[in-house]
């Protein structure tokens, strides 16, 4: 497919260094710039071919941006560039201590319904998640920078866990608000 022939990877497309650390402001700025070049609206009066290409290219830019700006997806993408596909990453076991910690958090979320002070528990879980996020990102970064992709892989899985717990927490919070 054409995509492999295009700008070598998403980082190259955005003109930034291939790294786990991202300057979010610069990334957003590049995104807006790339969309200004490629968005179908910028080619609205072009011929049908031009419109079609704009549609595809702009979609490619969107795909790249959504991958790069999210730590979890960025980690998996970097490993993929390093030669480990997503399903292979999933096979790397996650640290027991982390598993235990995330289980405790899930329990807290599951019990929110019976909780008198649900909102403060939500705050507490959010804070724990934020702390874990920083911790896991740092560990991933450390191994990734040393090109130790296999040692970085478990932490990509951790990031995915954290992402899912965050989603669960958001859902529970809305449910609690809904039930008033």
């Amino acid at each position: 497919m054409f995509k492999s022939e295009l700008a070598k990877d998403y980082f190259a497309l955005f003109g930034i260094d291939k790294s786990f650390e991202i300057d979010a402001v610069a990334l957003a700025e590049r995104y807006r710039f790339l969309q200004r070049q490629s968005h179908p609206d910028m080619h609205a009066s072009g011929d049908p071919m031009e419109k079609r290409i704009a549609l595809q290219y702009s979609g490619y830019v969107n795909q790249a941006y959504s991958t790069l700006r999210d730590a979890n997806r960025r980690a998996f993408y970097l490993l993929e560039l390093g030669g480990i596909a997503e399903n292979e990453v999933n096979a790397f076991p996650v640290d027991q201590e982390f598993l235990f910690e995330q289980m405790m958090l899930r329990d807290k979320i599951n019990d929110l319904g019976d909780c008198d002070d649900a909102l403060s528990v939500i705050e507490e879980v959010s804070a724990s998640l934020a702390r874990l996020q920083i911790d896991v990102e740092a560990k991933f970064l450390k191994f990734y920078q040393q090109d130790k992709f296999e040692q970085a892989a478990p932490f990509a899985n951790c990031l995915q866990y954290l992402f899912k717990i965050k989603e669960e927490l958001d859902r529970s919070e809305l449910k609690i608000l809904e039930e008033g």
């Binding site: 070049q37 910028m42 080619h43 011929d47 490619y60």
Partner: protein, 625 residues
């Protein structure tokens, strides 16, 4: 014409000839049309000076269809043939609108909605087309010239079927749709262009029949929709219904006939509107014989009647903020859209929720049409000073049915569009040559809880051992939010053909049939026009490609790739001498596909060059500062 013209921001639009384009707000209760004249947005009124066109179509006469206030006049005397709030039925299944359609007769068979009227069977697309063509002829009178195109707005939360139905209606009305634009995005654009501010904007859009909430970020002329949410069956009509129920209980009318019901609703509406700028209003129920009583409704009563509905909208706002990853504190501006936002208690609740007063200044009834007109103006290049770009999202997840009636999501909601996602499938039987796919839209995990969009059948898979075929199905959502699906068998590179059967709505032949019926032209005229358009399109492609090969053929294509493309070009050139429409169409399509990756590479090269130039600028700016 260059194959891939990269527009330089600032220098992009230098088209000297102005084009007559319009923005249409196809609303549930009212519709309107606007344009931009000498840089100023302007709502186009009818010859009597009215801006709002009631979205009502009357089918009580065999000879003639009435639209707008002319149609509304029949609402009391002949409610069955007077179609109101047609938008509520667009692209929906019969089952999902049972209570809303209680005023009308529907054909019993099928899932599609078809109204039985005195002038025959009418579907919601046709009724909407009547409204659209009334507006477009209003615009034609205004310009004294033909209209080149329109941006038509849809609720952000409209699904694929509803969007497609809107586009079909426009086609039926003979309108060239430049873009479908989400209503809240249009409103944000109208305000954003006026204030030139940056920051995070929340658009609260409570229309006649739908509720939308969108969170956008405006930065350096780019509007990025971050998240959108809402409810396609919640709006001003529901407010009327809540007041109606309250009134019915007060008077003790349990189950009145059509005409009484409609008069009560009309009286309720009048009172509701009066409450926008007074503490209390009187509901005139003098048409009820047994009662000469007038009922007073106060702000406090209205507020308590509609509270559950307002809470539902606020909950949707919370959900949307979560999706957007922002807090209500981070919202810099709140924009209110739709007539229902005139209700004092709604304004109060929303100001409290976001902690700031909503922006005022543009009439909430007009703001969407104005934004649409501005977008139309920008898109066709009338506005050379404007560098605004809108990047919208898909409001609902797209998925496919997997084993056990579960949904596997392929494109998640709030994904920026356009977007393309490919998914691989395989065969489960030896020698299997076909594959069925069911595409659904929605957030739920079970297929039955989601909206069925289409059934696809792939043919022509080369027979292989089970599990060894690799069929890549590509789902593409374009900038209008419309889905397109293609499939390819990867091991052989053969395109599998895709047979699309819309689960609902009109298929291509039905639309063509309706179109042909609506033209007085003979069939041969239509064919001649199709042929002429195809020739222009084919020649355009050939010209572009010749120029592109001349310029970049040697650096971007291998000799064999170049030969392949040139061979197809010759083939098309030779066919163009003939009158064979189908062969020409096919050859053009083949050539377009064959040259696609070449065009893509050219696009990539120029985008990267532009980015490179920008980086150099960054450096010089840094050096200077």
């Amino acid at each position: 014409m260059a194959l891939m013209k990269i527009t330089e921001p600032g220098a992009s639009f230098s088209n000297p000839s102005r084009k007559n384009v319009i923005g249409i707000d196809l609303g549930t209760t009212n519709s309107l049309v606007a344009t931009v004249k000498q840089g100023k947005p302007e709502v186009i009124s009818d010859k009597d000076g009215y801006e709002l066109l009631p979205s009502v179509v009357y089918y009580g006469h065999k000879e003639r269809v009435y639209v707008g206030s002319d149609a509304l006049e029949f609402a009391d005397s002949n409610p069955v043939d007077t179609l109101m709030s047609v938008k509520r039925f667009l692209g929906r299944e019969k089952e999902s609108i049972a209570s809303e359609a209680s005023m009308h007769k529907l054909t019993p068979e099928g899932d599609d909605i078809n109204f039985v009227t005195a002038s025959g069977i009418v579907n919601p697309v046709q009724a909407s087309a009547e409204i659209l063509s009334t507006l477009s002829s209003r615009a034609r009178d205004f310009f004294q010239e033909d209209i080149e195109g329109a941006v038509i707005t849809v609720p952000a939360y409209f699904n694929d079927a509803q969007r497609q139905a809107t586009k079909d209606a426009a086609r039926l009305a003979g309108i060239n749709v430049i873009r479908l634009l989400n209503e809240p995005t249009a409103a944000a654009l109208a305000y954003g262009l006026e204030s030139k501010e940056q920051g995070v904007i929340a658009v609260y859009d409570l229309g006649g029949g739908t509720f939308d909430i969108s969170i956008l970020r405006l930065h350096a002329g780019v509007f990025e929709v971050i998240a959108t949410g809402g409810d396609t069956s919640l709006g001003g009509d529901d407010i009327d219904l809540l007041i109606y129920n309250w009134l019915a209980e007060e008077i003790g009318v349990a189950d009145p006939d059509f005409s009484v019901r409609r008069r009560m609703l009309a009286a309720v509406k009048v009172a509701k509107e009066a409450l926008s700028d007074s503490e209390a209003a009187v509901i005139d129920t003098s048409f009820l014989d047994e009662s000469d009583k007038c009922f007073e409704i106060t702000q406090a009563i209205l507020s308590s009647i509609i509270e559950p509905l307002v809470m539902r909208t606020i909950l949707a706002c919370r959900r949307c903020l979560k999706d957007a990853g922002v807090t209500s504190m981070e919202i810099d501006n709140v924009v209110m859209v739709g007539g229902s936002t005139r209700i004092v208690s709604i304004q109060k609740s929303i100001s409290e929720f976001f902690g700031r007063e909503p922006l005022a200044g543009i009439d909430p009834d007009n703001v969407v049409a104005i934004g649409a007109a501005q977008q139309a103006n920008i898109l066709v290049g009338n506005d050379s000073t404007n560098e605004v770009l809108l990047i919208d999202v898909t409001p609902l997840s797209l998925g496919i049915e997997t084993m056990g009636g579960l949904v596997e999501k392929i494109i998640h909601r709030n994904t920026a569009i356009p977007v393309t996602r490919a998914q691989e499938f395989t065969t489960y039987k030896d020698g299997q040559t076909g594959l069925k796919l069911h595409v659904v839209q929605g957030e739920r995990e079970l297929v039955v809880d989601c909206r069925s969009l289409a059934n696809f059948e792939l043919f022509g898979i080369p027979p292989m051992v089970a599990g060894s075929a690799r069929i890549e199905v590509t789902f593409q959502v374009d900038a209008d939010g419309l889905l397109n699906v293609t499939a390819r068998e990867k091991t052989t590179g053969r395109e599998a053909s895709v047979n699309v059967q819309p689960a609902l709505g009109l298929d291509e032949s039905e639309i063509s049939a309706m179109l042909e019926k609506s033209f007085s032209n003979a069939e041969s005229d239509i064919n001649a026009r199709k042929m002429a358009e195809q020739r222009v399109h084919s020649n355009q492609l050939l010209d572009c490609l010749s120029a592109a090969i001349e310029q970049d053929g040697d650096s971007l294509l291998s000799d064999s790739e170049k030969n392949d493309i040139q061979l197809l070009m010759h083939k098309l050139e030779n066919l163009l001498i003939s009158e064979d429409f189908e062969k020409i169409e096919h050859a053009t399509e083949t050539l377009a596909q064959a040259s696609e990756s070449f065009a893509m590479l050219r696009m990539d090269r120029s985008v990267q060059a532009a980015l490179e130039g920008k980086r150099l600028n960054d450096l010089t700016e840094e050096a200077e500062s």
